[in-house]
């Protein structure tokens, strides 16, 4: 998917190079680059770097954070994660054709079926916050895997912390 955006940005940069005469327009699209008024060469180098036509692919955007972590046996979203969820919700309301899967996970401790239920509750807590911000019901799908799909394979708090999570998965990305 990243390749597609690279191609897109290359295409756009060639377009931009084609209209050097309007520096104002180029700074808008170039995402606040300092290149306005500098040389052509300098301008081209900037667009080749972290340029993005879509905030989803911008590593500096809050949208780049797609994993939210939880305390043991808790589905409470942290204050920091609320702002990340808000950014995703804003993006989804602006792009009603985009949908996400909210995948709920737990650490390995305790019983498996309770953990499936807990993973669902975590994912639904995130879903609820997004719905409150006006994201369409159809844009959000909740699936819980409980403890069945750990990302960290250890048997200690360092691993458990990484496994208690909700993943925001953009379809096709």
């Amino acid at each position: 998917m990243r390749i597609r955006y690279l191609v897109l940005s290359l295409l756009m940069s060639s377009l931009l190079i084609g209209c050097q005469s309007s520096p104002k327009k180029s700074t808008d699209v170039a995402n606040g680059s300092k290149s306005a008024g500098t040389t052509d060469q300098r301008f081209g180098a900037d667009t080749g770097g972290g340029f993005s036509g879509d905030p989803l692919t911008n590593p500096a955007s809050p949208l780049a954070k797609r994993v939210l972590y939880f305390d043991f046996d808790s589905s409470e979203v942290s204050a920091e994660d609320r702002s990340i969820i808000a950014a995703h919700a804003e993006y989804l309301t602006k792009n009603p054709n985009v949908s996400v899967i909210l995948e709920g996970h737990t650490d390995e401790r305790g019983s498996r079926e309770y953990n499936i239920a807990l993973g669902e509750r975590r994912a639904k807590a995130v879903q609820q916050l997004m719905l409150l911000q006006g994201v369409g019901q159809k844009q959000l799908q909740v699936i819980s895997f409980g403890e069945e799909r750990p990302v960290a394979l250890g048997h200690d708090e360092a691993a458990w912390r990484l496994n208690r999570r909700v993943e925001i998965l953009y379809s096709g990305k």
Partner: protein, 435 residues
Amino acid sequence: MLRKLIFMGVFLLAAQARAELTIDITQTVEGATPIAIAPFTWTGQPSAPENIAAIIAADLKRSGRFAPLPEADIQPAPQWGQPLQFPVWQARKINDMVVGSLQMRGPDQYVVQFQLFDVKQGTQLTGYSITSQTSHLRKTAHQISDLIYQTLTGERGASDTHIAYVTVVTDKGGHRSYNLSIADADGFNEQIIYSSSQPVLSPTWSPDGQELAYVSYTRGRPELYIQNIQTRIAKRVSAFPGLNNAPAFSPDGRQLALTLSKDGNPEIYILDLASNHLQRLTYNYAIDTEPAWMPDGRSIIFTSDRGGSPQLYQIAISRTGQKTRARRLTFEGNYNARAAISPKGTHVAMVNRNGKGFHIAVLDLKNQYLTVLTDNPLDESPSFSPNGQMIIYATENAGKGILAEVSIDGRAHQRLRFQRGDVREPTWSPFMNSN
């Protein structure tokens, strides 16, 4: 020559099966009844297709009720058909002794005979002659174990039963495969009955031992299936939006208790398997899951965190479909989940957390006494043997999921270590009367 070759083949297969599984007796019981199982007399060539005496001794030892004498110590070994020298064994403080023979009667046809003696009294307690075939010799040995167990304890033995469990194997590319297997109660004769690249969990037996219900993510989300063990045909029985989890057959096998979240959050329902009628049992904003039936079929014990932490509750099943109130059962520990109810309904095993670590505990429903049976850090998924004497559960050893067993008095402990994969979610079969 041909016969000899066949024998060799069988021997190799048996050796291979043994290499797949190691049983460690981690704690034996002081005061277990000393018993001697003499090597079964074998007159055929080259060597016996199975060591019947060793299988019986292992079965009896795993029950925690018996302390079989090591085979090497049974000297001079009594021979089938010869009078037993009772004073010799009385002097060695052996209570009971088994003497037997294995004879070949035709191509792939055997007769296994045994006698059980009360050494102190100098009398025979029981004796049987059983016909068998190569592939059934281990089963025949388990049947003999159960006959001995029943004669000496008055209770039915559970050696000739099965376990089902899930094994997760990760290949070099990091791809997981989830296998649902059944095996003999001692872990031998493993057969995979379902395999998926997606999570498989919560296998549970039908009361007649012919079917397993389980959860599969094969279509990307949890859905419930019932699979016939003989025909291997599976039927999808629940695929509502959200969770379709935690199946439990009713004692009469006609209904399935399950967890659905289609109405907002996880609640317990009862699905009638013939009519597909659904009865909702719980109405609570909390998590309600892991239903287990009382043997009378009138109430269900389940996990709920309605009180702030997961605890066990009991709820009556109304015949008219009216709402009933749940009663809290567990108060010790900040985490009690995944109830397994003993066959007679007297005890409830669970995953208990009290301070650090998750252990298997058992609650005596009569006197409300909770006993913690295990002390590994990550124990889960308890399941009773059909005679109620043992609990099989999942634990972790050297970073790997393994199965372990504990007697309900907490005195006998053993581990079943499989060579391949993470093993989890054991469930002990009911008694099976067929074959």
